[in-house]
């Protein structure tokens, strides 16, 4: 409303839109002063690195020599001449496709299950589920539980039950590294989106449920589908962004548990490839191309899922 009347005033004074904007900007110069400190640092440490990566990805910069422009050569090499990168892409997608949706679903279901518990109990259950995601390197305990000797819990149980007769080196065996890392990633994945869902469920206007019950909603599943989900769409959207971004970025768990590089690159992700070329071989141009692809994949996945959720229930 306010802007509409403002615009009318503008035309009556025969100001162009541009001039009006300028006037508005001048009137609110304090606002620019207030956003400036944050925006300057944000630009410096987020926008500049992204733009810079894109530019560098077209060069062969290696920190020592003057960079040459090589156009798309880095990208071509990545897709046609770098087998390890193809493994990395495959693994990253496997991780993301499993961990992203699974953690999202788990966050939502747990939040929904505990929604009707008394507040004190709910707080305790929330803590139990949320704790692993904030406890730093607590996930290293999985290396103890699945250690390669018989003092590891998994080996001990299997030995005792007579299922195996020699210890399994869990994190050195190609068969087990990926599944185990996925389990550990899930264990740490009930984070911000989980809290957002709890809050979203608590915030739904209760009269909606009453009205729904009167209108013939018969059970909790119908209630979930017709009332709960549509009422917390904004939280679902925010949670999706948090889960997706998280699911692409957990290479750290793999490094800590399975080493770097993992056996035969079996759990090598794009993040590891980036670390390898950027952090260790200083092939900055090449690693920038990797970073740009990772950026495009993450943002693309997020925008896609946001679009899907925004169509939910319409």
């Amino acid at each position: 409303m306010a802007t509409k009347t403002a615009e009318k005033k503008a035309t009556s004074r025969e100001l162009t839109k541009m001039q009006w904007k300028l006037k508005e900007a001048k009137q609110n110069w304090v606002a620019y002063l207030m956003v400036a400190p944050y925006m300057i640092f944000f630009t410096l440490f987020t926008i500049v690195p992204v733009v810079f990566s894109i530019l560098l990805s077209f060069t062969d910069f290696n920190m020592l020599e003057v960079p040459n422009i090589v156009w798309l050569k880095n990208y071509v090499t990545l897709f046609f001449d770098d087998d390890v990168f193809l493994i990395a892409i495959k693994n990253t997608f496997i991780f993301a496709v499993i961990v992203g949706p699974a953690s999202y679903l788990m966050s939502f279901l747990v939040a929904w299950f505990i929604n009707e518990l008394p507040p004190k109990v709910r707080a305790i259950v929330t803590l139990i589920f949320y704790a692993p995601s904030i406890s730093g390197q607590a996930y290293l305990i999985w290396a103890t539980l699945f250690s390669s000797d018989s003092y590891g819990w998994a080996n001990a149980v299997l030995l005792k039950l007579g299922i195996i007769d020699t210890e399994i080196a869990w994190f050195q065996d190609e068969k087990y590294v990926m599944p185990l890392c996925i389990i550990v990633a899930l264990w740490t994945s009930l984070g911000t989106s989980f809290l957002a869902f709890i809050a979203g469920l608590q915030g739904i206007d209760h009269s909606l449920f009453e009205a729904g019950a009167v209108d013939g909603v018969r059970n909790r599943w119908q209630e979930l589908y017709y009332i709960t989900l549509p009422s917390m769409k904004p939280q679902l959207m925010f949670g999706a962004v948090m889960s997706i971004t998280g699911s692409f970025g957990f290479g750290g768990i793999v490094t800590a548990l399975a080493g770097f590089p993992s056996v035969n690159y079996c759990a090598h992700t794009i993040m590891h490839h980036l670390e390898d070329y950027g952090g260790q071989r200083y092939e900055i141009g090449y690693s920038s191309a990797i970073a740009v692809l990772l950026f495009l994949i993450m943002v693309g996945a997020n925008l896609l899922v946001k679009k899907i959720i925004s169509r939910l229930g319409t």
Binding site: F45, L56, A123, I134, G136, G249
Partner: protein, 290 residues
């Protein structure tokens, strides 16, 4: 019409017993999956050496002891750089990073949420977009940037990037949108208060849950920060890194390393316990519009 019943003075739809049981079973299983590893960390730290190496490993302890914690402190005392230095480093970066972030992000959020100026939509869109990728993407170029700023191997490299975390600004702005009443701000402005005064005196006290949330998120990130690619010198490294070094000491330090893990995990958990209700309140307005 469906069966209704009341719970907490509210009318709710009757729940089928079968559904309740099914949900309880799933919840308990998931709960055990989440809880048992955490429990095991705690139990390991209380086990005397002979129990640590007992076959099969147990999820309980027969004769609990604090010896592991004492061993940890002994190990801390013989480290090459005094251990207090690592604690100081982590505290300094956590406090400076967190408060800078809180101040900068709140001030910017206030302007973005409550002052109508050209460009605010675009700025917020960009910050929101940056929630969609993580720092891995910018790691290499940030390193080059730090090198050019001559910030490598200084505290600045750890503190300043924490100031402009985008999640903090996002949550604060959304919270101000829904919880700070425009008419209150308007009357303050009519009384002659400038924007900075209105922000500090009127708006900030109204968003306490949000700043607590920002503090906790920022603190968690900085507390859990391990080895940084920006830091080479031992005397600038973090507590988390130093504890990792103790843990890497192998079999004879298994007890001390279990104790170290407990200390490192208890701090963020305790911080969350005291602030849980505020964080949930903040998340109430975290929703994203399309």
């Amino acid at each position: 019409m469906a069966k209704l019943r009341t719970r907490n003075h509210k009318v709710v739809l009757a729940r089928s017993a079968g559904g309740d049981t099914g949900i309880s079973i799933i919840l308990i299983n998931l709960g055990l999956f989440m809880f048992l590893p955490m429990w095991y960390i705690l139990i390991q730290s209380l086990k005397p050496l002979d129990e640590l190496w007992m076959f099969p490993p147990r999820f309980y302890v027969i004769s609990p002891t604090f010896k592991n914690f004492r061993d940890l402190f002994t190990l801390m005392n013989i480290s090459w750089v005094p251990f207090s230095r690592y604690i100081f480093n982590t505290l300094l970066t956590s406090v400076a990073g967190t408060f800078g972030h809180l101040l900068l992000a709140s001030m910017a959020s206030y302007a973005l949420a409550k002052i109508k100026f050209p460009g605010r939509e675009g700025m917020f869109q960009i910050v929101q977009l940056s929630l969609m990728f993580n720092s891995t993407v910018t790691a290499i170029t940030s390193f080059i940037l730090m090198a050019n700023l001559h910030w490598l191997d200084t505290y600045w490299a750890l503190i300043v990037p924490a100031w402009c975390s985008s999640l903090g600004l996002y949550l604060m702005k959304q919270f101000m949108d829904t919880n700070v009443n425009d008419s209150v701000l308007e009357s303050a402005r009519l009384d002659g208060a400038g924007e900075f005064r209105t922000f500090w005196i009127i708006a900030m006290p109204m968003v306490k849950p949000a700043w607590l949330t920002l503090i906790i998120y920022s603190f968690q990130g900085l507390w859990n920060a391990g080895a940084s690619m920006y830091i080479y010198s031992e005397q600038y490294k973090s507590l988390n890194y130093a504890i990792g070094q103790i843990t890497a000491g192998g079999i004879k330090r298994a007890g001390a390393s279990a104790a170290a893990q407990v200390i490192m995990m208890l701090v963020p958990i305790l911080v969350f316990v005291v602030s849980q209700s505020n964080i949930i309140e903040t998340m109430g307005s975290s929703g994203m519009k399309d």
